[in-house]
């Protein structure tokens, strides 16, 4: 083997790398990354999340480990282990900040340097899935992340949108980004798709409906499902709780479980 190779690297023990992308901000990338990790864990998989959103790192809080710090070992940085049984590994700039309100006001080159480190210097060990949560857009973070991950042959990307045209408009551009960078699109998730009033069960399409599904059809990529707005999900994320284990009857659960199942089906030994 050459001095450096994908086989020797810190990602050598990671079976599948998948990215969660969106052209649009605030559509639920971190939410989908978190819930997917929790669902894959229930299916017995070892999961890690790499959070490359350097300006707005949401992952630490979503697992209630925002106070944790990162330690070093011989092979690099030790990820933070989350969940009661420490079964989910995390890395985020959130763990490296002295004060949580400190703004990371970096231009591209500095962001790129940290992302390269995040990809190569975290000692993930053996993982079935490494989920990469990204900031919105198609810029430095995305270019650097895809470039750094290329030797490790990512499985592909899940694109998250909300139903309305303003979001879909940005996600179309993200699809082009995937095409141009050779990143396979695993599918589109339409998040915040309808809200069922807990008092009277009336469904209101607060952010419209159907845009994500239409985009998937138009672009010829799989549609992974519609996730409704669910105050219990928002609350779980605020509190860093395991929504998948604690709220299986909540309205967003079936769709989130279905997304995870499709990822599992797509990566099972029988499929190729």
């Amino acid at each position: 083997l050459p001095l450096w190779s994908a086989e020797r690297s810190n990602l050598a023990g990671v079976q599948h790398v998948l990215l969660v992308l969106s052209g649009k901000g605030g559509v639920g990338k971190s939410t989908v990354a978190t819930e997917l990790a929790l669902a894959l864990r229930v299916a017995g998989k070892r999961v890690g999340i790499l959070d490359v959103d350097l300006c707005g790192p949401s992952i630490p809080r979503m697992f209630r480990v925002q106070e944790s710090a990162v330690h070093q070992c011989d092979s690099g940085w030790v990820p933070v282990f989350a969940h009661q049984d420490k079964s989910i590994s995390l890395m985020s700039i959130g763990f490296l900040l002295e004060k949580p309100d400190d703004a990371v006001v970096w231009r591209g080159p500095k962001k790129n340097a940290l992302i390269k480190q995040f990809v190569s210097d975290v000692a993930w060990g053996e993982l079935d899935f490494l989920i990469v949560d990204t900031p919105p857009g198609t810029s430095d973070e995305h270019i650097s992340t895809v470039e750094a991950l290329r030797p490790h042959k990512p499985l592909g990307a899940i694109l998250v949108t909300t139903p309305q045209a303003v979001s879909v408009g940005d996600v179309r551009r993200e699809l082009t980004f995937c095409k141009k960078t050779g990143l396979r699109v695993l599918g589109i998730v339409e998040n915040m798709s309808g809200f069922v009033c807990p008092h009277c069960s009336e469904c209101t399409n607060i952010f419209s409906k159907g845009g994500g599904e239409e985009l998937a059809k138009h672009a010829g990529v799989p549609f992974l499902g519609s996730v409704p707005l669910d105050p219990q999900l928002s609350q779980s994320l605020e509190d860093g709780r395991d929504f998948i284990q604690e709220f299986p009857k909540s309205s967003a659960f079936p769709a989130l479980a279905h997304i995870a199942q499709q990822i599992l089906d797509g990566t099972s030994p029988r499929s190729s």
Binding site: P136, V166, Q235
Partner: protein, 295 residues
């Protein structure tokens, strides 16, 4: 394809004195500049920028300019009903695209030929375009320049603050939603503003509760688990400009490129927006009269 002046896109360094002078000249005709910021994506910056611009332009005697510096995800053209419009060049520079006679818009969206075109640029190229937007767009005499930004605290934000240092910025309006996942990013943005000495006009809490159209009960879809914007503003000694509830018609009118304020005047969200716009106008007027006293 893409930007017509690609070769002019330089590395994003701080403006040199000659450049600073150029920007100062161009922006001399702008009376008030307001930046719309948020650490968090998807909280309603573009929605708010568009409505702020429309609200201010409701007065015929005011000239309003809306500049969209979200290079990767330009939402403003659609929200203003200007999808598919292109930028024209004249002797005096780039012409903004006009929604009304007194409301002009500029966005990278107008430079893209297809809705699938992705702007996959690193920082320096983005900075170059932002500089061009400030230097080469012929806004004319403007009472209010509203600048819509992407989420975060990065190249676009550093650059706009640096380039605008040649001119006068009234301040920043910061948008958030009630939950801590948003607030934790917004606090960073507030820190950014303080670091670069950008005055903060105040905070707007968007998506603040939803009233079911059928049973009229309220649901907190994005729960203010840590006290919402109200608590944050108290803690940081910043003005809370107002709270805007969720209304499905907001998203719909943005998608159709219509003014929510005009389409649904009876919505509680409309009254919230109008009151917030009023407060921003008052803040700007106060700045103006303070400056005149100094001169």
């Amino acid at each position: 394809q893409g930007c017509p002046n690609q070769r002019l896109c330089a590395a994003g360094a701080a403006p040199d004195p000659a450049e600073a002078a150029e920007l100062r000249t161009r922006l001399r005709s702008v009376k008030h500049t307001v930046l719309v910021l948020s650490g968090k994506g998807g909280v309603g910056k573009s929605t708010f920028s568009a409505l702020l611009a429309r609200g201010l332009a409701a007065r015929d005697d005011k000239q309003v300019a809306l500049l969209d510096i979200d290079i990767c995800g330009p939402s403003v053209p659609r929200m203003m009903g200007l999808e598919g419009e292109q930028v024209h060049q004249s002797g005096s520079g780039w012409s903004p695209v006009y929604v009304e006679e007194n409301l002009g818009v500029m966005s990278v969206g107008f430079l893209l030929s297809s809705p699938d075109d992705a702007v996959i640029w690193r920082g320096p190229k983005k900075n170059g375009l932002i500089k061009q937007f400030l230097r080469d767009v012929d806004w004319g005499e403007v009472d209010y320049l509203i600048i819509d930004t992407p989420p975060g605290t990065s190249d676009e934000h550093l650059s706009i603050v640096q380039y605008l240092s040649a001119a006068h910025v009234d301040g920043a309006v910061i948008i958030t939603t009630p939950q801590e996942v948003s607030l934790q990013d917004v606090r960073k943005e507030i820190n950014f503003c303080r670091k670069v000495k950008l005055p903060i006009i105040g905070v707007v809490e968007n998506m603040s509760g939803f009233i079911c159209p059928k049973c009229k009960n309220e649901s907190q879809i994005f729960p203010p688990t840590t006290g919402g914007a109200e608590k944050m503003c108290q803690n940081l000694n910043i003005s809370l400009l107002g709270k805007v509830p969720l209304d499905p018609q907001i998203g719909k009118s943005c998608d159709k490129g219509q003014s929510f304020l005009a389409e649904v005047p009876e919505s509680p969200a409309t009254s919230s927006y109008l009151s917030i716009i009023q407060r921003i106008q008052e803040y700007c007027d106060l700045q103006h009269s303070q400056e005149e006293k100094i001169i």
